[in-house]
Amino acid sequence: MSNRYSNRFAQLEKQGRKAFIPFTMLGWPNRKSCLATVATMIDSGVSALELGMAFSDPVADGPVIQRAASETIASGFTVADAFDLLKEIRSIDQDIPIGLLVYYNMVLRYGITDFFTQAHNCGVDGILIADLPPEAASETYPAARAAAVESIFIVSPLTLPDRLDTIAKYAGGFLYAVSRLGTTGVEERYDRELEALISRVKATSTLPVCVGFGISTAKQAQQMFALGADGAITGSKIVDLVRNTPEHLLTTCLQEYLTTMVRCTYMTSPAAQA
């Protein structure tokens, strides 16, 4: 296994900090702009990266990421292009953990072993397959291990202890807890069972727990930290920002947003932010 996730989380813990992990779609809105966005993320001091490969039928995603995915596919950006871009991103920063978010059909089509090997060669540390539950994890786990790529899994407020045990058998890197039932997208509320979920996960696994889906502000991230989360993941908000900010302002605007999010990882009580 690559040690980038464990190194990074150990380092954060030493600093008394939490993780902030931004997401964007590989190749969106185009290769150059995507690379610039990711470079800004790295410059802003984010803890790790989550990068998505566009799929035609992303059932775990809400409208914002769906639209980015269909635009990426329509632009002709391929899986090979995505791997190529990942390689370039890795060359910017040797230490940052890179997580890849995909749907299973793309992995199957590429060939499971080849996909994981290629991901490793391009500097990927972990792969989350959005529609691969632990029941089917044995299909990819040997290839993931052989390629030294962590298998990242989602846990939801409905995931009970018996399922957590199964997930813990395969999971590496960190556990991706969804803040609520639903698809990705900016939203205020989080599930009433989230705190209980985080406690359950902590009781089952030593892996860090990062919360995503609907997290877009420092205040929300700190709420998650207060519930016991080790990190916060933001996706749709960033895609929204990239879409809606005039190009000449984008770097500044992104930097400002990302810096605010990174800063909040130092102040782990909600009171500190206020």
């Binding site: 793309m106 029941e135 089917a136």
Partner: protein, 391 residues
């Protein structure tokens, strides 16, 4: 889960983690219900007294004379609601009630499953919402109006090709958010386990009745059993009655659209490759990167880039074979059945009829061809008139 729901290498459960507990709950409820005499009595009572089962087996004498072979029609078009979809919708609605769900969601292509879901929701007093692609809403307008009359809310789906595939995507997304209170009533024998097994269970009455009716009438079995294939529920329903009769040839008819040599078809079993979509491994029309392709058929109910996993399996073992009929062949059969027998078939079912016509000319006189007439065609009238010729 108790089982992973594989048919050979096809099937399984490939969904986001949030849906897994709901599928476990559904599998549990289904396994209990199918052994529960009270549940089954209620279901059978509804099938008989509400939906009108058994449906007739009709020998189409005029068509038989024209085509040469003996043509038999299993009249699912006469089932309440106008298609076989009612068998499944009633079963799942009863299950939803047993699980304490207070809301039903469904996807629909041709609108027949949407109508069946809306009827079941109205009957059992469960709020029902249906996702339907915008393209399909236009071409199956009468069914949209029926759903609304029955009290269901119809959500237009505006993403991608705006047909059945996208309707399923949206229904799944809704379900991920609403899974505590909502049952997703999938309309075909596809999707994640337990749907393929469960929908087959509720549709196998078609094959069960047809086999019994046929053997009573003819003291033999049919030589061929034909059904159209979209997701494959009407086909698996009638085929299942003949799985133990190797002498009966089972043939599924896929939509060849504008021709298998063009990009405008939905012939997944003949042109697809192994993949994973909508929670199942099956065959899939896809590109080299695994992006799912847009399909095409004049029949909204067949316009789908994958297929129920059991059909992929039956094809791989040779237990069933799969052919295709084009739009124009289907329209020809639609008109021909209407004029020769006074029966207007759904454009979906007309694909099976169209192949029966072709088969008759080579199978020879005296052969018995049983066709599942899965639905009635009033819904398609405007489309046929617009697309072909003034009648």
């Amino acid at each position: 889960m108790k089982s992973t729901g594989f048919f050979g290498g096809f099937g399984g459960v490939y969904v986001p983690e949030t849906l897994m507990p709901a599928l476990e709950e559904l599998e549990e409820a289904f396994l209990q219900a199918k052994e529960d005499s009270v549940f089954l009595a209620k279901y059978n009572d509804l099938l008989h007294n509400y939906a009108g089962r058994p449906t007739p087996l009709y020998r189409a004498a005029n068509l038989s004379q024209r085509w040469g072979a003996n043509i038999w029609l299993k009249r699912e078009d006469l089932l309440h609601g106008g298609a076989h979809k009612t068998n499944n919708a009633l079963g799942q609605a009863l299950l939803a009630r047993a699980m304490g769900k207070t809301r039903l969601i469904a996807e629909t292509g041709a609108g027949q499953h949407g109508v069946a879901a809306a009827m079941s929701g109205a009957l059992l007093g469960i709020k029902t919402e249906v996702y339907m692609g915008e393209v399909d809403m236009l071409r199956q307008q009468p069914n949209v109006l029926r759903m609304r009359l029955l009290g269901a809310e119809v959500h237009p789906v505006t993403t991608g090709g705006r047909t059945l595939k996208e309707a399923i995507n949206e229904a799944l997304r809704d379900w991920v958010s609403s899974v505590r209170t909502t049952h997703y009533m999938l309309g075909t024998a596809a999707g994640p386990h337990p749907f393929p097994a469960m929908v087959k269970f509720f549709q196998q009455i078609i094959g069960c009745e047809a086999r019994e009716q046929f053997s009573q009438r003819c003291a033999c079995l049919p030589d061929y059993v034909l059904a159209c294939i979209g997701g494959g529920s009407n086909a698996v329903g009638i085929f299942s009655g003949f799985f133990n009769d190797p002498q009966v040839k089972l043939i599924g008819v896929e939509p060849a659209g504008k021709g298998l040599e063009t990009e405008h078809h939905g012939a997944v079993l003949q042109k697809g490759s192994p993949g994973c979509l909508h929670g199942m491994k099956s065959l899939l029309l896809q590109d080299g990167d695994g992006q799912v392709l847009e399909t095409y058929s004049i029949a909204a109910g067949l316009d789908y880039p994958s297929v129920g996993p059991e059909h992929a399996y039956l094809q791989s073992t040779g237990q069933a074979s799969y052919v295709a009929a084009t739009d124009s062949e289907a329209i020809g059969a639609y008109v021909e059945l209407s004029r020769s027998e006074g029966i207007i078939p759904a454009l979906e079912s007309a694909h099976a009829l169209a192949y029966a016509k072709r088969l008759s000319s080579c199978a020879g006189h005296g052969k018995h061809i049983l066709i599942n007439l899965s639905g009635r065609g009033d819904k398609d009238l405007q489309q046929v008139i617009d697309n072909v010729q003034p009648l």
